[in-house]
Amino acid sequence: MTSNSPLSLAARRFRRHKLAIFSAGLLLLMIVLVMAAPLFEALLGVGANDVNLMSRLLPPSLAHPLGTDELGRDVFLRLLYGGRISLFTGLTAAVFAASIGTVVGLFAGFLGGRVDAALMRLTDSVIALPLLPLLIVLVAIDLNKLGLPQSIVESEDVSFYRIVFIVAITGWTTVARLVRGATLSLKEQEFVMAARGVGAGNMRIMFRHILPNLLSVIIVAVTLSIGTVILLESVLSFLGLGIQPPMASWGNMLTNAQQLIWEAPMLAVYPGLLIFVTVISFNFLGDGLQDALDPKAEY
């Protein structure tokens, strides 16, 4: 006996995507590993940021599973802590970006006319711009000149907040287009007319009636944008503009590795490999979800 509810149909379609299943497992494993970082720290008896100049650039051993970097820090532990930052930044920024995109897409698709034209022109312009150069300027902004309180400007996490904010205000465009497209077809359906018939206003229809139906579109969009966001974070951190050392992120671990590329090429391999595996897993997962949640798909 198999049930034929939309959810179980979707689950069945998703299970056919072997790569997506495998990716989901891999990501879960990765999350467990980075969560367990303090445990590994205790196990190895060193901290992730412990500098030891006597043991620079050591090869892998029992004490240092992946060797040490140019300051004698344990590479494996730093990868785990870097993973925490990269994954957490990716997730947070993707959720913020998706929220902006959803609101923009919902308003554009539902209200139509001038609002639609203006919002979509804005979206197209943002997509067409050379983003990275502009982001570099955004990152370079002096927060004191914005009049932000000192407590924020001088806090240790400021590079994290900054990167989440910057990625969110630039990464919403894909979600906006997808949500707009879905809204355009949803708003023609009978339940919208019915809601209007019993006197619901635009806001209520948009956020109570249409939004829940957009859930699958949004889930797919968020999954797919996490990959993009992690790439963006890593590139900015690599350029020295994102997460600031000594806090490790996969991106900023590669900055120093570039200088040491002739002496210790392996230092450049690990963090990038992890970024690559994480991003491709999120992309496979998103692709699988897209197929599974597509209402037009065959069974």
Binding site: A128, L129, L131, P133, G227, I261, P265, A268, N283
Partner: protein, 320 residues
């Protein structure tokens, strides 16, 4: 046609003007200002001197007045001096612009020449091993971090094999082969990033096109499957691909920035990075505007291409 071109041109100009103000305002928010830099070079200056200097240079005016002064000067050809290079901004920019166009142009051409055939191939044999393999490759392309790819290429081809230089550009009197040898790795990096997404767009657009009735008609009339895919369907499948390629120029430029920085290729991307990092306000401002203009121009060209590929699009009348 002319009306369409004019309206697109006007639109691009409006975006450019808006962006010039946004960038001007953002650069004003970067740490310090030109007077701070003067003070740090001269310990004898007092706060009063600094204030007087700010008044002389108009730095105490409100932002829109400063912007207006800059804009009017810029339109008369006065783009200012670069602090880092000690030369007029334009003299620094133009060679860099040339280098970037060469790098991006080659990478873009390579990406399109690889992606369109393999995307079409994948779509012509859906769910086959070939399709699966190409899809995997495309996913890898969109997921690989640009800077890491660049570092890996350096490790393989420069550090281990020693075949190619790890960065820089050939000297002016170098031969063609040497010039190319400096281009190979950066071009490969930028192209790989784009091949993935272009392949996926081509594949899905081709799959869509192959569902049309005229494809079935062509098959029924005896045209071979290969002929139908490559002769009948391809041209139509490319129409939506062109739009997406156009929107991708901004992304291409972002990739070029990272790549140029890693390979020390003296192009616009590296220039922008160095200018922002080195507090070279004039250079950063104009270079960013040039980059924006470059991307907008590429978009405009793609629109023209679009019209040329699809004669059904009546440009100028109705909605475009």
């Amino acid at each position: 046609m002319r009306r369409f071109l004019l309206s697109r041109l006007l639109q691009s100009l409006v975006v450019l003007v808006i962006m010039s103000f946004v960038i001007y305002a953002l650069i004003g928010l970067m740490p310090g200002d030109p007077i701070d830099l003067m003070i740090s070079a001269n310990p004898n200056m007092t706060a009063a001197d600094a204030a007087a200097l700010r008044a002389i240079y108009g730095l105490d005016l409100p932002i829109y007045e400063r912007y207006w002064n800059w804009l009017t000067a810029a339109l008369q050809g006065d783009l200012g001096y670069s602090r880092l290079f000690g030369q007029p901004v334009l003299d620094v920019l133009l060679p860099a612009l040339g280098n970037t166009v060469i790098l991006m142009g080659t990478a873009f051409t390579l990406a399109v020449m690889v992606a369109i055939p393999i995307g079409t191939l994948a779509a012509s044999k859906p769910r086959s091993a070939v399709d699966y393999g190409i899809n995997l490759f495309a996913f890898a392309g969109i997921s690989i971090p640009s800077f890491w790819l660049a570092l890996m290429l350096i490790i393989i081809f420069s550090v281990s094999l020693g075949w190619l230089p790890a960065g820089g550009i050939a000297s002016a009197n170098a031969g063609f082969v040497e010039y190319i040898s400096y281009m190979v790795l950066p071009v490969l990096t930028i192209a790989t990033l784009s091949i993935g997404s272009y392949t996926r767009y081509t594949r899905s657009s081709m799959l869509e096109t192959l569902r049309h009735d005229y494809i079935r008609t062509a098959r029924a009339k005896g045209a071979s499957r290969r002929r139908v895919v490559w002769k009948h369907a391809l041209r139509n499948a490319l129409i939506p691909v062109v739009t997406i390629l156009a929107l991708d120029f901004g992304f291409l430029f972002s990739g070029a920035l990272v790549t140029e920085t890693i390979f020390s290729w003296p192009g616009m991307g590296k220039l922008i990075f160095d200018a922002v990092m080195g507090n070279d306000f004039n250079l950063a401002l104009v270079a960013l505007l040039f980059a924006t203009a470059l991307v907008l121009t590429a978009n405009l060209l793609a629109d023209l291409c679009y019209a040329w590929l699809d004669p059904r699009i009546v440009i100028g009348g109705g909605k475009v």
